[in-house]
């Protein structure tokens, strides 16, 4: 890459300044402020005062925090696995020369670019026990006697949120997987088939190892996005029924903007930050064991 001259560097900074300023004012400063607030008592109306680690202690002693944390982990795990597996299956299928290939690719990608607000409203009605299309279809097909209460039963509500997330995000993961699949050299497949390998074996021994860098990237992004899920819960269930869909970010929002407990809410934010950081770090460390980089071989 060409080295920049001193004056070019200076102008680059001047052009970048507005963007950096925005990042500083709207991302880094609030992040820093909430770190400070996580050690303070504040209810928006009075003056914040220092309480040390009290907020962290209160949050970690709150059974609802742990329930919410457990729910979030379950949600991230189940929806993450479903997303990865289904997106990979779709990508492998759509990587072949089939009829309507571009139509299907577009169709599966469409939910990802549709705003969550409209999607959630529509899914809210799809899930409706008495008027919803899903229950109607299942009953028409005689798969169900009674309608599934979906959003209105603690046993099914989280599944409803999982299904919505998988449906919405699968297209994005599929596109990334497709890009990974297309980068695999056809000569590898040719020689494998010449040696008489079955498609199944080719998938496990060639396709999968060759796309591990993609899998790694998609895995990390799915994990982070999963932990940060908020909008679907806010719009569909508001954390209910009986806290069954109280994901951590939504619980944090409730603490801040419904109970006006900024201190504990900021503490939750930083605990979540640490959790994501540690999990990402672990994934990063483990990648050497299973991710295959071509330039390393």
């Amino acid at each position: 890459m060409k080295e920049f001259s001193a004056s070019e560097t200076r102008w680059a900074w001047i052009f970048l300044a507005p963007c950096l300023l925005g990042l500083l004012i709207f991302t880094y400063l609030p992040g820093l402020a909430s770190l400070g607030l996580s050690f303070s008592y504040w209810n928006f109306l009075g003056v914040p005062h220092w309480v040390g680690l009290e907020n962290y202690a209160a949050v970690l002693n709150d059974p609802l925090f742990w329930k919410s944390f457990g729910t979030t982990c379950w949600f991230v795990l189940v929806s993450g696995i479903l997303e990865l597996v289904l997106a990979l299956m779709l990508a492998v299928w759509l990587n072949r020369a089939i009829r309507g290939q571009s139509f299907f690719r577009a169709a599966y990608f469409l939910p990802f670019i549709t705003p969550m607000v409209s999607v959630s409203l529509v899914w809210g009605w799809l899930y409706d026990p008495s008027y919803g299309l899903i229950n109607w279809a299942l009953q028409q097909a005689h798969l169900l006697g009674r309608p599934i209460p979906w959003l209105y039963d603690p046993k099914t509500a989280l599944w409803a949120v999982v299904i919505l997330r998988v449906w919405k995000d699968i297209g994005y993961n599929m596109v990334i997987f497709l890009a990974g699949l297309q980068a695999v050299s056809p000569s590898l497949y040719e020689s494998a088939y010449l040696d008489g390998a079955t498609s199944w074996r080719v998938f496990w021994r060639i396709t999968l190892p060759m796309i591990t860098p993609t899998l790694f990237f998609v895995g990390i992004m799915t994990l982070i996005n999963g932990f940060q899920t908020f909008d679907s819960v806010y719009l569909l269930t508001q954390g209910g029924p009986e806290h069954s869909t109280e994901l951590l970010v939504y619980w944090m929002f409730k603490n801040a903007f419904e109970f006006y407990k900024i201190g504990p809410a900021s503490a939750i934010a930083y605990i979540l930050f640490m959790v994501i950081l540690v999990l990402t770090f672990v994934q990063w460390q483990l990648r050497k064991r299973w991710v295959l980089y071509e330039d390393e071989t």
């Binding site: 507005p18 109306l45 008495s130 009986e242 419904e258």
Partner: protein, 448 residues
């Protein structure tokens, strides 16, 4: 690149870079400055309010009148249709508290306890007498009590003046009562008659074993829908000094059980699965529930959309011998930090004037807190449904004025969670209340 080369050839060298940067920054900064409006001799005050498009239409017309009669004052309307208090909290936190704000009595203690509102009593005393004067005597006492805050030093503060009173009544479908051969409810009806009627109004029209028409609505939250049953049974949520949770008294538990049984034991109210995403108002409009417990705010929609005859009745008399509902209120408060107290008070006086309250009342939306409007045909609207609109006024006498601790939102979340299994018929009220009581008690004790 060719263009760039041309610039360079003309000897401009690298001068184009600073030029671009300069233009770029001028553009950016002018965008920012453009947001600020130019100031003139007028005093500008902010008024924050919630409300539907129709309500805002009425308010804007009123504000135009105000600005005509007060040419030196300009009112900036801050309309917050949803999540009103979240936004208001942020405005207060950013030191941008609106000069005049609409608040309800449930959220009132949060702000009053933090000194956000100005004490209106001294300002009222200075109010001009004669035509258009404003005094406490003009309002229902319960609505004033809802906006009175007792500070820890014992000083009392009147933090807002009431615009309207929100209490609940039973809206009923007269056609369905007639079809079932039932006499319409009177002010004397009690829980037994209410239940008998609800049972007869619950009908399985297509004989599939599940009712398609229910006797009565069911809301698990907010508490204003189930608290009347606790109160009418003789129970209470908190002790009068807000220090103790007493929802575990036998009377309160009886109220909770009666309400839960409407849905579970007698099944005269729809379960969650049966109503799904449809609101009780929609079910009532579709004639799928015959009685709906709701507030005055339902009236405009019903007048417009109901394809049947309907009326209102008080909530039935409970075992305590009384029918008691919550008396919440909405009213206007002035920021303690306003730079324009005189202008703000002028606006407040105007918004609570007989004419302004009459204009808001005529849509049918509110029960005015001003007695002269409430007791007139402006509110009672003869010839229009509901014929017994007076029910909302009569309920004020025996009603329970709002009495919420500052941590109300959190308390209600916790209590609502504990009661969910009760409303679903999976737990007895006594068990649920016992399990949640220590937590609620703790929230009362730690204060705001």
């Amino acid at each position: 690149m060719q263009t760039l080369q041309k610039f360079k050839d003309r000897g401009l060298g690298k001068a184009w870079i600073p030029c671009c940067a300069l233009l770029f920054w001028i553009f950016l900064l002018s965008c920012l400055w453009g947001c600020q409006s130019s100031s003139n001799h007028q005093v500008s005050i902010q008024l924050s309010t919630w409300g539907s498009a129709q309500e805002i239409g009425v308010l804007r017309t009123l504000l135009r009148d105000f600005e005509r009669t007060h040419p030196q004052i300009r009112v900036n309307l801050v309309h917050i249709p949803d999540n009103y208090y979240q936004k208001l909290h942020l405005l207060v936190a950013s030191d941008l508290t609106p000069d005049v704000m609409l608040t309800n009595s449930i959220s009132f203690p949060i702000y009053a306890s933090q000194g956000v509102f100005m004490d209106l009593r001294p300002l009222l005393a200075k109010s001009p007498s004669g035509e258009g004067s404003l005094s406490e005597r003009q309002f229902y006492p319960a609505s004033l009590r809802a906006f009175t805050w007792k500070a820890s030093n014992g000083r009392e503060l009147l933090g807002a003046l009431p615009r309207d009173i929100s209490d609940v009544a039973v809206f009923y479908n007269r056609n369905l009562f007639q079809k079932a051969g039932l006499p319409e409810p009177t002010a004397q009806w009690n829980w037994d008659q209410f239940l008998e009627d609800a049972k007869k109004l619950t009908v399985d029209t297509n004989n599939d074993g599940d009712p398609d028409q229910f006797g009565v609505s069911f809301y698990s939250k907010p508490p204003l829908f189930w608290l009347p049953f606790v109160w009418s049974a003789g129970g209470e949520l908190f002790s009068p000094d807000l220090r103790r949770v007493i929802l575990d008294s036998p009377e309160a538990l009886q109220g909770l059980r009666f309400y839960a049984n409407l849905r579970n034991q007698w099944h005269v109210a729809p379960k969650k699965v049966e109503s799904g995403g449809v609101t009780m108002s929609q079910l009532f409009l579709q004639q799928k529930i015959a009685m709906m417990v709701n507030g005055r705010w339902s009236v405009p929609v019903l007048r417009e959309q109901a394809k049947f005859r309907w009326d209102v009745a008080p909530l039935p008399i409970g075992p305590s011998g009384q029918s008691r509902v919550g008396i919440d209120a909405s009213g206007y408060a002035i920021s303690a930090k306003t730079a324009h107290p005189r202008e703000s008070m002028a606006l407040l006086r105007f918004l609570l004037s007989r004419n302004a309250i009459a204009a808001v009342t005529q849509s049918g939306l509110i029960v005015p807190a001003r007695r002269d409007v409430a007791e007139s045909n402006l509110y009672l609207a003869p010839g229009q449904a509901p014929a017994h609109g007076r029910v909302f006024l009569d309920a004020i006498t025996d009603g329970v004025p709002t009495h919420t601790p500052p941590r109300w939102n959190e308390l209600i979340e916790e209590l609502g969670l504990a009661l969910e299994p009760v409303w679903d018929g999976q737990q007895d009220a006594a068990v649920a209340v016992k399990s949640v009581k220590p937590k609620l008690q703790h929230m009362l004790e730690i204060g705001p």
